[in-house]
């Protein structure tokens, strides 16, 4: 009968940060499988590069901060950051940019603010946005999916490995890359094309971006699994999708000639992956249920505004970072009403 000073409660629900992070990683499996079908098995390589970079950066940061690397690495959060970056970056991105984005995410996004739980910004999005600004050309060079590519799956696979390892023939790059749907929309409108002309471009699939629409469905599937397992709560993904859809519907209603439809916005770019896996990061998100609704809706609306009126074809990363900035304000104004208290 030791531990007499042990305070109540004497039971625990048995959930741990490591378990939560593990479930997030598992929920990315459908996405990884569709990715392998569309672009060849290059994601495992990209994931290995990102994970190695993330672990290295984490270990370095912990060493510099005089923390025990063992306990901090065991929480698996750094693996999730690496996996989300690998999933969100262009499939054939050369390895050094992946390393750069991951290192920025872990060092500046996370440890500069004090490590796990302290970061005001979503680390993966800090890395992604920095890479987008530093390497705009490589970061917007999206691989054509196997359904639209001149290459077959095995040729795509070998090209992918060569490109990631930096051995690809740069002259042949045009053979396997193409504009994404959002990019095609952006440039098409700039070139004064009509909406039907734009929608007929090869970058568009049945209801979203060519190929990307299936990735989005896979992300949706994994996200629903996370919802069922109560790893994430419904407010953020629903608010992100509703905010984006509402803004897109309004744009479409006021000026159908210059705005794409709701479905395209939901199933192109990183919308689904972002709504379920990135915007749901609890550390940099709002605290209360009402706060999460505001936070998510802000991301959805800002994403649309950047896509429709900004210089970048997709704006999800910037929208997340901007709403991260607003979190303290949101938390302050969305305090819950305590049982037996009038709202103050």
């Amino acid at each position: 009968m030791n531990e007499a000073s042990a305070p109540a409660p004497h039971l625990s629900g048995g959930r741990s940060v490591a378990r939560v992070m593990g479930l997030v990683l598992l929920a990315l499996l459908p996405y990884a499988l569709v990715h392998a079908w569309l672009y060849g098995p290059v994601l495992p390589l990209q994931l290995a590069v990102a994970t190695a970079a993330a672990l290295g950066a984490e270990a370095l940061a912990l060493r510099l901060r005089n923390r025990d690397p063992g306990t901090a690495l065991r929480d698996r959060s750094v693996l999730v950051t690496a996996a989300l970056l690998a999933a969100a970056l262009p499939p054939f991105l050369p390895w050094w940019i992946t390393v750069f984005a991951t290192a920025i995410a872990v060092l500046l996004g996370k440890h500069a603010f004090g490590g796990l739980g302290q970061n005001p910004f979503n680390p993966a999005m800090v890395g992604y946005a920095t890479a987008l600004l530093a390497f705009p050309q490589e970061m917007t060079r999206w691989t054509l999916p196997v359904t639209a590519s001149p290459l077959d799956w095995s040729a795509l696979a070998s090209t992918g490995f060569a490109s990631v390892l930096g051995l690809a023939n740069t002259a042949a790059i045009d053979g396997w890359t193409g504009a994404t749907a959002l990019e095609a929309l952006h440039t098409g409108l700039a070139q004064r094309l009509t909406m039907p002309e734009i929608r007929a471009l090869p970058a568009f699939g049945t209801f979203g971006g060519a190929g990307v629409e299936w990735l989005a469905l896979a992300a949706l599937l994994g996200g629903l699994a996370l919802l069922l397992l109560q790893v994430i709560r419904w407010q953020v993904p629903v608010a992100v999708l509703a905010g984006l859809a509402t803004a897109a519907a309004l744009g479409r209603a006021f000026d159908p000639g210059a705005h794409a439809g709701v479905l395209l916005h939901l199933f192109a770019g990183s919308t689904m992956l972002g709504a379920f896996f990135i915007a749901t990061d609890p550390v940099s998100g709002a605290a209360s249920a009402r706060g999460r609704l505001v936070f998510g809706a802000g991301i959805g609306v800002l994403t649309y505004l950047i896509r429709a009126f900004g210089v970048h074809p997709d704006g999800f990363a910037f929208a997340v970072l901007l709403m991260n900035l607003a979190v303290p304000l949101i938390d302050r104004h969305t305090l819950t009403q305590v049982h037996g208290r009038a709202r103050t």
């Binding site: 741990s16 940060v17 208290r341």
Partner: protein
């Protein structure tokens, strides 16, 4: 939260023999509470049922000895109390058993002939106290309910902790006694109706009370099944569940016209009225992997916990932790010689397996997942409170209503980072309370000092006036 009590509640009630030695704690609640003052001297010969200590405040209840014998000492002894060891009256049974003391004349149905005020007066020395945890005097609560005009009497049979089942056993075995007590409470409080709220995971108890009600035919009393979800039995939450009215935070059920009592308190009241027996015993759940035969025991107040554990059979594995109260809000006790108190509803000899093994690792930083806010029954934001505590920001703590925390432990239970939130909140609340007390004391001293200054000035002015007068008179005489 997995329930660990179905089989334990199903076992028949064990009636404990009277112990040879009792340790009667002068603090009968688990924390805070009222200190009692002994009213017998060491060496005194006392009979079972004699009063050994009386409260200094109206909300404390008198304390009686369940055994006859000699008061051996008044000494500090390990207790089931958050502050550790405290003063106790220790009674040793004599070698020759004392004759059973004649209990005071039972009231019987005669209680109806007494005015409610006179009935409360009789209850004053009964030792009856809330058996749900706080151990406040029954008559004080009734008196308050009369003054506030409470219309509803709510009997709490929710018992939502995953281990405690003493009320379940009581409701199954003594439904008639509980309903009898309810009628006395209705008479004494002036309430118009009574709801007996029972957790819906106790079909046998609901059945027994239903049958008892049918036999009694008192349409003022109704039975209500409530969802058995921890912490549904917390008083103010139970009031909200049953009436739909929110008790103002920091307030009492009386603020919305409800008088709340535990079912065990009602049964004890019936026993006092019918048999004249002061509160000498209670039913307590003795459970956990550390005992072989977990069961409910009707045990005498003052029995050392070790004797209760022995009654339930020593287990194969030595307990990792001895807990008094529930698994969610109970107190870990270092010393099994600590005695049973009126507030102790459960003793858990918890093994490592019962505690779910050690936590998966050291405490991790908060990841703001919000599971704690989702779990909080009073809609606080534990993670924001946690940050405000770390930042040492008293204004934020006040804004986030730390004072409204009911210390149920739900936030700890779900926290993936393994942060001992409840313990920190408890400590911060206690510190805040101490700060407020110190502030009130300082104000008191300041006011007294100011009064003293005024008083001294007045005295000095009077002396001066007298001196002046005397001099003027002296001058007058000299001039004459």
């Amino acid at each position: 939260m997995p329930s660990r009590k179905r089989e334990v509640a199903a076992r028949p009630l064990l009636v404990a023999p009277r112990p040879h030695r009792v340790v009667l704690a002068l603090r009968q609640s688990i924390d805070g509470g009222v200190d009692l003052e002994p009213c017998i001297a060491p060496g005194a010969r006392i009979r079972p049922g004699d009063c050994v200590a009386r409260p200094r405040r109206a909300d404390g209840a008198a304390l009686h000895t369940p055994i006859g014998g000699i008061v051996s000492t008044l000494a500090r002894h390990p207790l089931v109390h958050a502050d550790g060891p405290g003063p106790c009256v220790i009674v040793e049974a004599g070698s020759s058993p004392d004759p059973e003391s004649a209990p005071s004349e039972p009231l019987g149905d005669g209680y109806r002939a007494l005015a409610p005020e006179a009935l409360l007066e009789r209850l004053r020395d009964s030792g009856l106290a809330g058996l749900g945890g706080a151990a406040f005097a029954l008559d004080a609560k009734l008196d308050q309910a009369r003054n506030r005009g409470c219309g509803l009497l709510l009997l709490n049979g929710a018992e939502c902790d995953p281990w405690i089942c003493c009320d379940d056993r009581l409701m199954r075995d003594r439904a008639a006694e509980i309903l009898d007590g309810a009628q006395v409470l209705l008479y004494a409080s002036g309430a118009a109706r009574c709801v007996v709220a029972v957790g819906d995971d106790k079909p046998e108890a609901l059945g027994a009370l239903g049958a008892g009600l049918a036999a009694l035919g008192d349409e003022r009393i109704t039975l209500q099944a409530i969802p058995a979800l921890y912490p549904a039995g917390a008083e103010n939450l139970l009031v909200a569940t049953v009436t739909g009215m929110a008790v103002p935070a920091g307030g009492l059920p009386a603020d919305v016209g409800v008088l709340c009592h535990n079912v065990a308190s009602a049964a004890a009241l019936a026993r006092f009225v019918r048999r004249g027996e002061p509160l000498l015993r209670r039913i307590v759940t003795v459970t956990g992997g550390g005992v072989a035969e977990p069961c409910n025991i009707e045990a005498w107040i003052g029995t050392p916990l070790a004797e209760l554990l022995a009654l339930a059979g020593s287990g194969t594995a030595p307990p990792e932790r001895l807990i008094v109260g529930g698994a969610m809000s109970g107190l870990a006790v270092a010393d099994a010689s600590a005695p049973l108190t009126k507030a102790a509803n459960c003793v858990i000899a918890a093994t490592a397996a019962d505690l779910g093994g050690p936590r998966s690792g050291p405490e991790l930083p908060c990841i703001r997942c919000g599971d704690c806010a989702h779990a909080c029954p009073v809609d606080l934001q534990p993670q924001l409170l946690h940050w405000a505590l770390r930042a040492g920001d008293p204004l934020a703590l006040a804004r986030l209503r730390l004072e409204d925390c009911i210390e149920c432990g739900c936030c700890d239970y779900v926290c993936p980072s393994g942060i001992p939130l409840t313990a920190r909140f408890r400590a911060a609340r206690a510190a805040e309370l101490r700060r407020k007390e110190a502030e009130a004391q300082a104000r008191d001293w300041r006011e007294r000092h100011a009064a003293q200054v005024v008083r001294r000035e007045r005295v000095a002015a009077a002396e001066r006036a007298q001196f002046e007068r005397a001099r003027a008179e002296g001058d007058g005489e000299a001039g004459a």
